[in-house]
Symmetry: C2
């Protein structure tokens, strides 16, 4: 059993957790609570403006643990595929401007029911982006999503699948995100977290509520669900990951709370449950 | 590419697909449409009475492809575990009375967040039941459920996990159910269906809707979703499975239809899409 954390030095606020806040408000709230890092979303950065966002982050002295999200590669038309690669290059440039070194990829969905083809194309697209990403100092983080998103969001649905892709790509700028919400159910999770050692680019926490109120926006606060969080954290620790731990919770109930109340709860639960 | 079916000889109605019908009504509708087999649910059998159900089925000349469901093993209190084993023994006796040789098992859920312990207990419980099942000529079918049910219904969530359990149990009366809804997302599905060769006890079809209207009761009719059904059927064919193909769809919209309209649609889609 790993000891629990006694401070917030590993904590990062994934910005979607507090989607009711602007980038400026979220940064201010992080500073208020002593949260040292934030993960930004491109739509929120665009709302505020890229250069203004850079200034806000720098003035606050926050670390940026990652930028969400690149990916969304699969498309049947070549012209559309090219557009999506171009958009990923813009995301890489934004990530570099924002001072992070991780771009999170959502790898899907499939076109025309053909999962094997979509999976091959995801790999091809990441391979095409890697030289550009490396030039900008940005690591591409493949985040396997829960299999319930295989139909509309990601054809990468297990950590094993992501690990095998990383092995084949064999490039220092590609790795994986381990998000407890997406991998907790996997009978092979312990072995696959161990296999990810050396290329874990992020660790995301939340909880699985029973019943789940909504597939996309029904994630729980740590401690409110059935995930054995400390067991998963011990696996990630054992794999040598010592970076930021992002709290990423998409839940309309939390978006209806005052931001400071939500962040206070998040800090308390991070210390108690992660 | 496998040829499509030209008749209904492989089709079985899983009774929950037409939950608006009593057992007697469902059987009559199967006879009307020339559906040769039905999978029964214990609650529907209990409503009609076991002996009356046996008579209705025998008089109609239907095959019973399986009985749903045994399982639900995990419980922390020893007395409750014993009660659940006893209930599974009753289910085995009912299955034998009804003239099927397959009892479908739902293997979960976990207690106290501990998936490894729950998984070990599922295996122990199946091992305990197998001699009794064999005495009654009933095969126990482990049905891996979709990982989105790991929190409240089944700790067996992949076909690999079920296959490995079958290998360890090493008993001729244990096998697996391949349900497209539960396994379609799995990057390893082709290899695992091949590994299941010789112990596939059932093949269930439906479809995955995008978006999914409800996690439990939002399954689609074949052809309405994103599952490549014929690819999965070709894998099951290649593994040598030649038994009944059950249509199992839990969806409130279909339960609101007149039963005969639903069964006509089901037969049409079985021929067109499976």
């Amino acid at each position: 059993m790993m000891p629990q954390f006694t401070d917030l030095s590993r904590l990062s606020l994934n910005q979607i957790t507090a989607d009711q806040l602007s980038l400026r408000q979220a940064v201010a709230s992080c500073v208020h609570f002593g949260i040292p890092a934030i993960s930004l979303w491109r739509n929120k950065v665009a709302e505020t403006g890229l250069h203004e966002s850079v200034n806000i982050i720098r003035d606050a002295g926050l670390n940026v643990s990652s930028l969400c999200r690149g990916g969304w590669f699969s498309a049947s038309a070549p012209s559309e595929r090219q557009q999506r690669l171009d958009d990923n290059r813009r995301a890489i440039e934004e990530a570099a401007e924002l001072g992070t070194n991780v771009l999170v990829l959502v790898c899907g969905p499939a076109v025309d029911k053909d999962l094997p083809v979509a999976r091959a194309y995801v790999e091809e697209a990441i391979a095409a982006l890697l030289p550009f990403a490396a030039d900008h100092g940005i690591r591409l983080a493949i985040e396997p999503l829960h299999p319930m998103f295989a139909g509309d969001r990601s054809v990468i649905v297990t950590l094993q699948q992501a690990n095998l892709m990383v092995q084949r790509l064999a490039h220092p700028y590609v790795g994986v995100i381990v998000d407890v919400y997406h991998v907790w159910w996997d009978p092979d999770v312990e072995a696959q977290i161990a296999n990810a050692s050396g290329h874990i680019l992020g660790f995301h926490v939340s909880d699985w509520l029973v019943p789940t109120p909504d597939m996309l926006q029904g994630r729980g606060m740590m401690g409110d669900g059935v995930i054995d969080l400390r067991r998963l954290r011990s696996m990630v620790d054992a794999a040598g990951y010592a970076g930021p731990i992002e709290v990423e919770i998409m839940n309309r109930a939390f978006w209806a709370m005052p931001g400071d109340d939500l962040l206070r709860l998040m800090c308390d639960r991070f210390l108690a449950c992660v």
